[in-house]
C-alpha cells in the first residue's frame, strides 16, 4: 500500500483540496482520494504534487514498511 503526506503538507501550505487540485490539474475529489490512500496517483501527478510541496517524490509517497 502506498502512504503519503499530502494531507499534512497541504495543511502546512494552507491549500484547500480544491486549490491544490487546481494547481496540479485535477479535481478536488482526486486529492481527497489520494489523501485517504484510496487511489495511487500516476508518476506524473506524483511529480506535480512533490513540486508543489517543494520536496522529492519519495518524501511525499512511500511504500508500507519503508519509512
Amino acid at each position: 500500500m502506498l502512504h503519503n503526506r499530502v494531507k499534512e503538507l497541504r495543511a502546512r501550505f494552507g491549500f484547500s483540496q480544491g486549490e491544490l487540485g487546481q494547481r496540479v490539474g485535477v479535481t478536488r475529489q482526486t486529492i481527497g482520494f489520494i489523501e485517504k490512500g484510496e487511489f495511487s496517483p500516476s508518476i506524473t501527478l506524483a511529480l506535480k504534487l512533490a513540486r508543489e510541496f517543494e520536496i522529492k517524490v519519495d518524501e511525499l509517497f512511500w511504500l508500507e514498511g519503508e519509512k
Binding site: 490539474g25 485535477v26 479535481t27 475529489q29 482526486t30 486529492i31 481527497g32 482520494f33 489520494i34 485517504k36 484510496e38 487511489f39 496517483p41 500516476s42 501527478l45
Partner: protein, 166 residues
C-alpha cells in the same frame, strides 16, 4: 459533484427502464388482430382498462421526463463547455473522466457491472431455456438486468463521492 448530471444519469436510466417495463406490461397484454386479404390490410390492437391506463400513463410520464432530460443535458453543457454531453455519443454518459482519480472510480464501478453481467447473463439465458416463460417475463428479465447495471454503477460511484464529502 453528486449533483453532476453524469453522476445522476444512472437514476434517469433506471426511471426510463421502469417506465419501459410498465409499457411492456400494457402492450404484451393487448389482443391484436392482423387482417391481410386481397382487399384489406389492417392491424388493430385492443387494450383492457388496466393495460391501456399503464401504457398511456407511462407514455405521458416518459414524454415529460424526456423533455426534462434534454433540458438537464443542455444545462450541463452550458456549465461544463469542455465536457459536453450528447445522447448520441458512443461512450456512456455516466463515465466520469475529468482526471485520473475520477477515471479510477469509473473503472471500479464498471468492473462491478462487468462482474455482475458475467454471472447474470448466463443465468438468465439458462432460465429462459429451462422454463417456457411468457414474453412479458422475458422482457422484464432483461430490463431487470439493465436496472441492476445502473444501480450497481450508481451505488459504487456514490459510495466514493460520499466518502469524499466526509
Amino acid at each position: 459533484m453528486k449533483k453532476d448530471f453524469r453522476v445522476q444519469y444512472p437514476l434517469w436510466q433506471m426511471t426510463f427502464i421502469v417506465l419501459f417495463g410498465i409499457m411492456a406490461f400494457g402492450l404484451t397484454g393487448a389482443s391484436t388482430e392482423l387482417i391481410h386479404t386481397e382487399n384489406e390490410l389492417s392491424y388493430s390492437m385492443e387494450l383492457a382498462k388496466i393495460e391501456s391506463f399503464s401504457v398511456l400513463g407511462a407514455t405521458i410520464i416518459t414524454f415529460v421526463l424526456v423533455i426534462i432530460f434534454f433540458i438537464k443535458i443542455s444545462k450541463h453543457n452550458k456549465q461544463h463547455p469542455s465536457q459536453k454531453l450528447s445522447i448520441w455519443q458512443i461512450r456512456p454518459i455516466e463515465y466520469l473522466e475529468q482526471d485520473e482519480g475520477m477515471t479510477h472510480i469509473t473503472r471500479r464501478a464498471s468492473q462491478k457491472v462487468y462482474t455482475f453481467f458475467v454471472w447474470a447473463l448466463p443465468f438468465l439465458a439458462v432460465l429462459f431455456m429451462i422454463f417456457e416463460l411468457p414474453r412479458l417475463w422475458m422482457i422484464l428479465g432483461i430490463l431487470f438486468l439493465a436496472l441492476m447495471q445502473y444501480l450497481l454503477y450508481y451505488l459504487e460511484v456514490r459510495k466514493h463521492l460520499k466518502e469524499d464529502d466526509e
